[in-house]
Symmetry: C3
Amino acid sequence: LDDGFCLKTRDGSSQFHLKGLLQADYKTYDYDLEPAGIGTDPGTDGFDIRRARLIAKGKLSPLFDFAMSYEFQGVSSRRLLDAYVNARIHDVFSLRAGQFKEPFGLEALSSDSDLFFTERSMGFGLNPGRDVGVMAFGGFWDNALYYRLGMFNGDGMDDATGGNVDEPEVCARIGATPFAHAGIPLLKGFHLGASGSYQRADANTVSLDISTAGRTDFFSVATNAKFSIIRNCDTLIRHGADAAWTYGPVALFGEYIQVRYDDIESKAQTFDAEMTGYYGAGAWIITGEPVLVSQGAIQPVIPANPLGDGGYGAFGLAFRYDNFDAGDKVYDTLVFVGDSVREAEAITFGFNWYLNQYARFSVEATHTTFDQPLLIYRDSSTGTSLYSDKEDMIISRFQLGF
Amino acid sequence: LDDGFCLKTRDGSSQFHLKGLLQADYKTYDYDLEPAGIGTDPGTDGFDIRRARLIAKGKLSPLFDFAMSYEFQGVSSRRLLDAYVNARIHDVFSLRAGQFKEPFGLEALSSDSDLFFTERSMGFGLNPGRDVGVMAFGGFWDNALYYRLGMFNGDGMDDATGGNVDEPEVCARIGATPFAHAGIPLLKGFHLGASGSYQRADANTVSLDISTAGRTDFFSVATNAKFSIIRNCDTLIRHGADAAWTYGPVALFGEYIQVRYDDIESKAQTFDAEMTGYYGAGAWIITGEPVLVSQGAIQPVIPANPLGDGGYGAFGLAFRYDNFDAGDKVYDTLVFVGDSVREAEAITFGFNWYLNQYARFSVEATHTTFDQPLLIYRDSSTGTSLYSDKEDMIISRFQLGF
Amino acid sequence: LDDGFCLKTRDGSSQFHLKGLLQADYKTYDYDLEPAGIGTDPGTDGFDIRRARLIAKGKLSPLFDFAMSYEFQGVSSRRLLDAYVNARIHDVFSLRAGQFKEPFGLEALSSDSDLFFTERSMGFGLNPGRDVGVMAFGGFWDNALYYRLGMFNGDGMDDATGGNVDEPEVCARIGATPFAHAGIPLLKGFHLGASGSYQRADANTVSLDISTAGRTDFFSVATNAKFSIIRNCDTLIRHGADAAWTYGPVALFGEYIQVRYDDIESKAQTFDAEMTGYYGAGAWIITGEPVLVSQGAIQPVIPANPLGDGGYGAFGLAFRYDNFDAGDKVYDTLVFVGDSVREAEAITFGFNWYLNQYARFSVEATHTTFDQPLLIYRDSSTGTSLYSDKEDMIISRFQLGF
């Protein structure tokens, strides 16, 4: 029962695992609504099923393994997530084909259930995310140095159909734990990563949605905002860098991502558009369980004394500062003002109770400030619009993952 | 193989069950169509996949268990049904979080596959149904008295987004088998239940759909019917009471549900809207297998001599009278006349053949009468509308559940 | 591990199988675009998840078994595929109820993962496909002669709601391996099949979509094309005949299908509409593994020396000619010219590498010619339309099925 519920053949050469993930949330929000006195209650508090996933993984021979995962929750969010096959040719060179996460970013490549926070940072929307394609990957010196290099459609998951350029997007990531074998305990858990992607883009590819930890969209690129219907776009380039340091029950980590669209053509002009996000975060498991970053992904915390059997599980604290910033050119041209703001920053304090290996309860508070008022609520019958330049949110989450 | 196909760890502390439910129907309808002579064939006869579900259940420690079920059938009906976690703290106090059925009603809380009828009574649409939230539950004296008390979003399943009031709906149920330990065989199987729900409502919450056993919608509340666009609504209150008596192979049971919207505001007026449904039913297993109601849910019939091995399974008969009645105020204001009728009553005779523990074949006839003609069929090219004040329906269902 | 991952009870009387199918494609296209010089890049090259399916099968007693399969890929393609129960009464007479493939055609009834080609022939769209209903089936002389006879809604899968005629569609198939027991090796693998379907149709039933091996739609029947809104239709009749001959590692097979709508009524006229498709194909497993057609379905190729263990798997070649032809009446009345062409023919060369029992890698080239230019790409901003009278396509597919 280490990796879901498992069926094996007698010799262990073939295996099939069934895994699941369930997250049940309760969220409550607070805004400084303007104009004051009119609006009252944007009605956003409530319970939510955030994720309800089943994952099937298997190994059919030493050479081939596969994974499929499906999100069952939500009319618009339910979809096939992962569906890929690995050909394990050699430690330094294997192949993956199908739909999976493009190799970009520490936070994006870490499993959602393993993160120290309930939601990813605001810059998460700058990552390429899942896409359909092929990828080569491998590692050296016991994965002290590893690489991933892939080609993808460049328009997101199979369901999506943005972009009609024939050439694939190229996405690569390289990571290292340079002191892994140096014998210095304090530096052993130091991890560096760099990611990049390049694609020839077109008008359909110019699309981005950024949201707060409360899942409020606050920045959406629209191809027909203002007077500027986008006619064409040349390239879409992403850069990212991340660093993490773990030492016993403590982790410090941060990440920077930049996205640039070059030569967006509208009727009036041709311009470049740039957006950046970054965060710095720390986590501490009070009860002393170790935290690990391995192959560019945060690993799950396993409580030493699970609830029951006299134990109370593990307890952890986490803190994050994160920031999103869109260039003036993007903001002046590609968004609807009010629906989008140009800058946001947020601080998050989280408390995690790891009840046992499978269950976790989190309580987290996030304070997000915008550089100008954001539309929070529009009453469709009266036409009243309410704005706020901050969002305070408290979330409680019960997570069960096996 | 008692509860689906099961995987266990060696010590039995963790388990994973896979279960399924498949229902294949053939239905044939008869109407008294008006105007006579024009319309002929509303074309409603046919085969149908009614349910195709997979259910995953599991126990991860003595403390935590979970359930997920998904409906795979139908573009508009496929969705996540259950997705919840139980924390089994104590017999008298446990917690459930996620999406599940609100604790309301005997018929609604009984599993569809265990009912004596292919479809629930007309009042079923008055139940709150599944919603996202948390619930406390427990029982006393070996569950001779049990309670459930929950808070929910109050707008139905996760997919739905009715209502934008911040306060949760409260729903509670209490049930008892008062003579469970009294040593009187005739009274042992007597069960009483009462349910109630309360929520602060708004215009978006005013929504109801009621259908016959033939799944013909005959009463739909529309927020903009007639001249009365609903601007606001104050509260939504549901009451329910149910009783069941089982003795050997015989069951008698009935239920009453009332739903009231208070202070619905339209342009012209403010009024209350009230709808009620009730039924009385009986079932008899001719071959003598016992029928049970336990913790407010009808339990499955297990044939003593399954088909094959010289047996022929179990045979049962069932009868139901049910009634739906909407108040004048609702009918005059919130429905489109013709699409909706104010009153309906139905009688159902059913025959069930329980082939074995998993398979069941049912043939059932329902005669439904409406207090005025209901729109049955509208030909989109000619514009002809056909009405009927009754619906006769015969359904054959093959059900496989494991 | 012969039939997916399997759970059994100790006595083997009940079983549950979990199976999966994953196909990851890369496709590249070439057209002769007209008008030349304007259009450049229809942007159709790319990666694709073609199928991502989970299949649950089980046996609950010697009498009952069931199957459910679900396509998880694609917003518009994900749906319940199979959901049926078999009652295994006797070798010569069993019953099936639920949703499953109507008994029509060799290619349609063969599992997609077992075909020698990545996509079925153009005439595939003439098959009735999956539908909801009941079917009797059985075989004689060890299935040397077999039959299937079913009744169905006649409007496709449960999701679909075409047709509002009460009477079911009847679909039948008969097949034989006449020399199965004759002791002549050369003739043992000779298989003949014939299929037919009949339904009373109406205007909603008149619907067909035909596509190339590159999945480009090139013929779509529209009920309101041109001046001819279809008001009614009398019957829909399908005929099909197929033959296959296998001898060791060689297979030759072909099929002919005709679809006819009788008495289509539009405002101006009443006419019949007829469409036909046929193909001839051959396959050769170079490494000598046998190919089989059993009960009217092509069986999977099992490599004798799987990759690893010193082996390299099995290699195969395949060739197909296929043709689609719509009658003049259909073409003049029921299609939008440009979006649809009247005739197409295609040749396909394929190479298959069966890595092991589960994994296959295919590279295939198809050259399709149309009798007139087909609309390939329409630029929504400039309004430019590009046409081509041929399509060249190369597809690479990695398939994992267990």
